[in-house]
């Protein structure tokens, strides 16, 4: 499968990367090589095989719906951000 420049830009957009020209170009080659390698799965016959998404042996682990004491306080978490105001994380205007 051929990987075009537009494909890279589209993937960069999905990934939230502001790639520069040079990096977009080198990623194009890298990704083409990786996609070529993983495409060899085509050879494997998976007709009638069910997919496996996890190998944990249990399903639906339930717990009580209760509020438990947390390991970190609100203040400790707000300390990690660049800007906080009125007990909230401050971000630039979104809309």
């Amino acid at each position: 499968m051929e990987i075009k420049r537009e494909d890279i830009l589209h993937l960069a957009e999905l990934s939230d990367f502001a790639l520069d020209e040079r990096e977009a170009e080198s990623l194009k080659d890298d990704l083409a090589g990786i996609i070529k390698y993983i495409s060899q799965l085509d050879e494997l016959d998976t007709e009638g095989v069910e997919p496996t998404y996890q190998v944990f042996e249990m399903e639906n682990v339930w717990r009580e719906d209760e509020i438990l004491p947390q390991d970190a306080t609100r203040e400790e978490l707000l300390d990690l951000t660049k800007e906080a105001k009125d007990n909230q994380i401050k971000v630039p205007k979104v809309l």
Partner: protein, 459 residues
């Protein structure tokens, strides 16, 4: 495990480890050295001992912590620029359990950023050097931890293994490295990579030490609902009789000396009375391709949380919400992080989902079934860990597919959720580089697998 007691002070043990860490600083093993806290904790343990109080099973034992385990001691960066400045207010369950037994963290170890890599060259801080040859890689992603144990700085170190990140560096540095059954040790407080394959484990010099650490760290955790009910310490002992070797693995792609080491080990076991069973596992050939679809998909999802808003790096170029995301992520991730995130978004995209992600999930079913069938014929499987011993720095770092091929023999265990232990198996003739083999067992066979590992030690 050598623990502190009346005759061996914890302060001396910790100071010795810190001195060794300093002595080997040119190997770039640590991203953070915990001098002050470590000595303070050691002093407390010595005082407890002097008062005749009970101390834990790891009292005063210095250890090294892979930099993707959260704790308030030092910044947790996962060796990634984007987490620079992040000091965690919470402590990982595994770390808490070790500390509760008196273990003392002397430093955080270098790794491939976000555990993406097989050489520790993808670290934002530069590569860790191999314990046996400083022109060669440490392996990865837990390279710093493996070298810290191999050089005798600490008796044990923590690691994470998503596709071989404990076993491969263990084999490159001649120590034991264990990836347990999926769900055995809580992952609460560990930087997530791929949630369906991530496992926590350890590096040690002996299988006995590994067993002790597993007894301490394993168990169900209400903070991680993917932990299995406690089984490790309650495992009934079962002796092995049949050892499998995979026919397809003993082929041209594997270094001749590693094939020799595997042959010698199976001959030794045969002499001890074990039956050697040859296994056909044709789907394993596709494990690496399936892995590099499934894992990037999960990586893309897990790493979308790094947005420059709540913690860690924020780009200085950013002016609005859009550029906070895009510039921060662009500056904060290493090239390999970007490749994996973009491949993940590619295989999950509409139009490619069925051909890649769904196909890989089906391949995974075949791999799980092959292991299940194999363990009807044998108790454990013995295989190489990687196709080659430690390679030269820079040799593969610009060739992602060549680097991925390092994991060709380790990833299938993670896809199937089965445990694997890397064991030392001699050195190469010319360069004196460690060779490793891995013992693979069925799910939840972990404790007996470690007991079997003692049988594999050359007399």
């Amino acid at each position: 495990m050598r623990i502190a007691d009346k005759n061996h002070s914890a302060v001396e043990m910790v100071q010795e480890a810190l001195n060794k860490a300093e002595h080997f600083s040119d190997h770039y093993i640590f991203t953070y050295i915990n001098t002050e806290n470590a000595l303070k904790k050691a002093k407390e343990i010595d005082e407890k001992i002097a008062r005749g109080e009970k101390v834990g099973r790891l009292a005063g034992v210095p250890y090294a912590l892979k930099d993707n385990f959260l704790s308030p001691e030092g910044e947790t960066t996962a060796s990634a620029h984007i987490l620079e400045g992040f000091t965690s207010p919470v402590t990982a369950t595994a770390v808490q359990k070790l500390e509760d037994e008196g273990a003392i963290m002397i430093g955080r170890t270098n790794m491939d950023a976000f555990a993406h890599g097989s050489s520790t060259e993808n670290s934002y801080y530069g590569p860790t050097l191999n314990a046996y040859d400083t022109e060669r890689v440490a392996g990865g992603s837990s390279g710093g931890s493996a070298v810290a144990v191999a050089l005798g700085i600490v008796q044990f170190a923590t690691g994470t293994d998503t596709g071989g990140s404990i076993r491969q560096p263990a084999s490159f540095n001649g120590v034991y490295g264990f990836k347990p059954t999926y769900g055995t040790i809580s992952r609460y407080g560990v930087v997530a990579m791929a949630s369906s394959t991530d496992c926590i484990g350890f590096f040690t010099q002996t299988p006995e030490d590994m067993d002790l650490l597993m007894s301490i760290a394993s168990g169900q955790d209400r903070n991680d609902l993917t932990t299995l009910p406690d089984y490790y310490v309650n495992t009934e002992s079962k002796s092995a009789k049949r050892v499998g070797v995979i026919k397809d693995f003993d082929n041209e792609s594997v270094d001749e000396e590693i094939r020799d080491a595997l042959r010698q080990k199976t001959e030794m076991l045969e002499k001890k009375g074990y039956e050697i069973v040859e296994l056909e596992m044709p789907a394993l050939k596709y494990a690496l391709a399936a892995y590099y679809i499934i894992v990037p998909a999960e990586v893309a999802s897990n790493l979308s949380r790094y947005d420059g808003i709540r913690y860690g790096l924020r780009s200085e170029k950013a002016t609005d919400i859009e550029t906070i995301y895009n510039d921060t992520r662009n500056e904060g991730f290493m090239p390999e992080n970007k490749r994996r995130i973009m491949i993940g978004n590619f295989v999950l995209s509409s139009g490619f989902y069925d051909a890649y992600f769904l196909k890989a999930a089906k391949a995974r079913t075949l791999i799980v079934e092959e292991y299940e069938k194999a363990f009807q014929k044998c108790d454990y499987i013995l295989t190489p860990v990687s196709p080659n011993p430690a390679f030269k720095l820079g040799e593969k770092v610009n060739d992602p597919v060549a680097m991925y091929l390092e994991d060709v023999m380790s990833v299938s265990l993670n896809l199937a959720g089965v445990p694997g232990l890397a064991i030392p198996a001699g050195k190469t003739r010319e360069d004196n580089l460690p060779i490793g083999l891995q013992i693979v067992g069925p799910r939840r066979s972990d404790k007996n697998l470690l007991a079997f590992a003692k049988e594999c030690i050359d007399e």
